[in-house]
């Protein structure tokens, strides 16, 4: 396992897309500042802007793109056969890829927080910490669900283009389908849209959210992640290269 991890991390730190995607999210965050100051005429702070990092950097979409680029690279370049033929099991390869890409997702998130904090501080000043750290932490946990979704999709499809396209479309489509279900079925005690990652992410970012709702969001996130990973692994376990 150690060799697989060394291989995956060596690859990650030499993967241009890792740096480009991080840079894109950072640029979007910087470009977001004048939108708040000039257009919305809002007065924020470094901490407040950092806490809004996910909504202002298109983070989830770019995470989907990066995960597909990183994971599908080995499929596209037919490199996986070199790894499997050398006696590395599909399970180890799956876990190695999951850990390294999750690490990358975490690094990108951390980098964006720092960029948003510095950018916001330069323009508005540091401000109070308030609930910012709690929000960032909880939203970071929900990102594990998104990452698992994009990761599993990439492992199943094994091709960069379709993985990016379906990843981006699917996240929007799922929300749309759940909304339609709410409209058609009109459930009285719950809403379908409340049980998807987008809602969980909003709940994690809401400082006034009830503890029970927050708990459901976090448990739901981990359940989704577990299901995505299990499906991804099941598809990958017997994949012939």
């Amino acid at each position: 396992m150690r060799r697989i991890l060394r291989f995956e991390f060596h690859k990650l730190f030499r993967q241009r897309s890792f740096y480009i995607c991080s840079l894109v999210t950072a640029v979007l965050l910087i470009l977001g500042i004048p939108v708040f100051t000039k257009i919305a005429k809002m007065e924020l702070s470094g901490w407040e802007y950092a806490a809004m990092v996910l909504s202002n950097s298109q983070y989830t979409m770019i995470l989907g793109i990066f995960t597909s680029l990183f994971i599908c690279d080995d499929f596209d370049q037919q490199v996986l056969k070199n790894i499997y033929s050398k006696g590395y099991s599909r399970r180890k390869v799956f876990v190695g890829k999951y850990i390294s890409s999750l690490f990358a997702a975490g690094m990108m998130y951390l980098f964006d927080i720092i960029v948003a904090f510095i950018g916001g501080t330069v323009v508005w000043g540091v401000g109070e910490v308030g609930d910012s750290i709690r929000t960032l932490f909880l939203q970071g946990l929900v990102l594990i669900g998104y990452h698992a979704f994009f990761f599993a999709l990439s492992m199943i499809l094994g091709r960069t283009g379709p993985s990016i396209a379906i990843g981006i479309v699917a996240t929007t489509m799922i929300t749309l389908v759940l909304t339609i279900l709410d409209v058609i079925l009109k459930p009285k005690k719950f809403s379908f849209t409340d049980y998807w990652l987008d809602a969980f992410l909003n709940n994690a970012g809401d400082s006034d959210v009830k503890t029970k709702v927050l708990a459901v969001s976090l448990v739901g996130t981990f359940l989704f992640a577990a299901v995505f990973l299990a499906v991804g692994y099941a598809f990958n376990r017997k994949k012939q290269v």
């Binding site: 690279d73 037919q78 070199n82 033929s85 050398k86 006696g87 017997k238 012939q240």
Partner: protein
């Protein structure tokens, strides 16, 4: 006998069609095993099963005397179909990456680059390499970590004659100096003939024959064919006057497996013995003909 690769009734089905049909293959330590068959005969599929890239539907596989497992596959280097390389990386970076999985240090990477003649490619990305260069890089990757067995599927595809000779010399060198066992498939029979010590002939998924290079040579050697009216008199003359023992007679045809260099003397002797010779010529059973006879056109 120490076998490094053995399969027993190895089978791979795609739908109802057997791509590999009950193949029982035996490769001894130190062999250079030439795996011969037409396109789609099942060579690559067999190799992929040995390497764990695809899963068999039946039969057993043994590597190094034990049931095939991931640990035994660590001792094998391989190149199957097109080489799996990172096209956005240099030759050095490709080897560096795989060395993290396969083993091998910076020194061995540089030696391998020298060996496959890629040491002067500098910052050129593998994606910009010619077909032959990519193939050579794939061979270098297979050789990383000093594997005990090399499984090479059409490794000289796309290589120029000089590069083919380079690969051949490298394989012979590895085999003779380090005792590396090689399983190699190629459609270039002449190339295989120059290095193989043993052959496996596969046709439509079935292993038709396993034959050693020596056996094959004896089957393909030159013969002297004599046609005459009195074969009994000819046989007597050949045995008693010329001392030739290896004689095969069928109808009016006598085939001699030895004494070809004495054709003129043989002819004179048979004429004076009154054998009534009306045809005398040499034939060579070509290796290509031998294989084609077994696998069909």
């Amino acid at each position: 006998m120490e076998y490094v690769i053995r399969t027993k009734e190895l089978t791979k089905m795609y739908g109802h069609k057997a791509a590999v049909d009950k193949v029982s293959m035996n490769i001894e330590k130190g062999d250079i095993y030439g795996f011969i068959g037409k396109n789609g005969a099942g060579k690559t599929t067999t190799m992929k099963m040995l390497l764990g890239m695809i899963f068999p539907n039946g039969g057993t596989m043994e590597l190094f005397g034990k049931p095939a497992n991931n640990a035994s596959r660590r001792r094998i280097g391989s190149l199957i179909e097109a080489p799996g390389i990172y096209k956005g990386c240099t030759a050095y970076e490709n080897l560096k990456r795989f060395s993290l999985l396969y083993g091998g240090d910076d020194k061995s990477i540089k030696e391998l680059l020298e060996l496959v003649n890629l040491s002067n490619t500098g910052k050129k990305k593998a994606g910009a390499f010619s077909l032959g260069m990519k193939q050579r890089l794939g061979i270098a990757i297979a050789m990383l970590g000093d594997p005990e067995v090399l499984v090479l599927d059409e490794p000289v595809n796309g290589l120029d004659p000089a590069a083919i000779k380079g690969v051949r010399d490298t394989l012979l060198n590895l085999n003779q100096e380090k005792g590396t066992t090689v399983l190699i498939s190629s459609h270039l029979l002449g190339e295989l003939a120059k290095i193989s010590t043993r052959y496996g002939i596969i046709n439509s998924g079935v292993l038709v024959e396993e034959v050693s290079a020596q056996e094959l040579e004896s089957r393909c050697r030159q013969t002297l064919v004599i046609k005459c009216r009195d074969t009994a008199a000819a046989e007597t003359a050949l045995r008693e006057k010329l001392g030739i023992a290896e004689i095969e007679t069928a109808g009016d045809t006598i085939t001699l497996l030895s004494g070809l260099e004495r054709a003129e003397e043989i002819n004179t002797t048979l004429v004076s013995a009154g054998a009534g010779v009306f045809d005398l010529h040499t034939t060579t059973a070509d290796m290509e003909d031998y294989f084609i006879e077994r696998i069909g056109r």
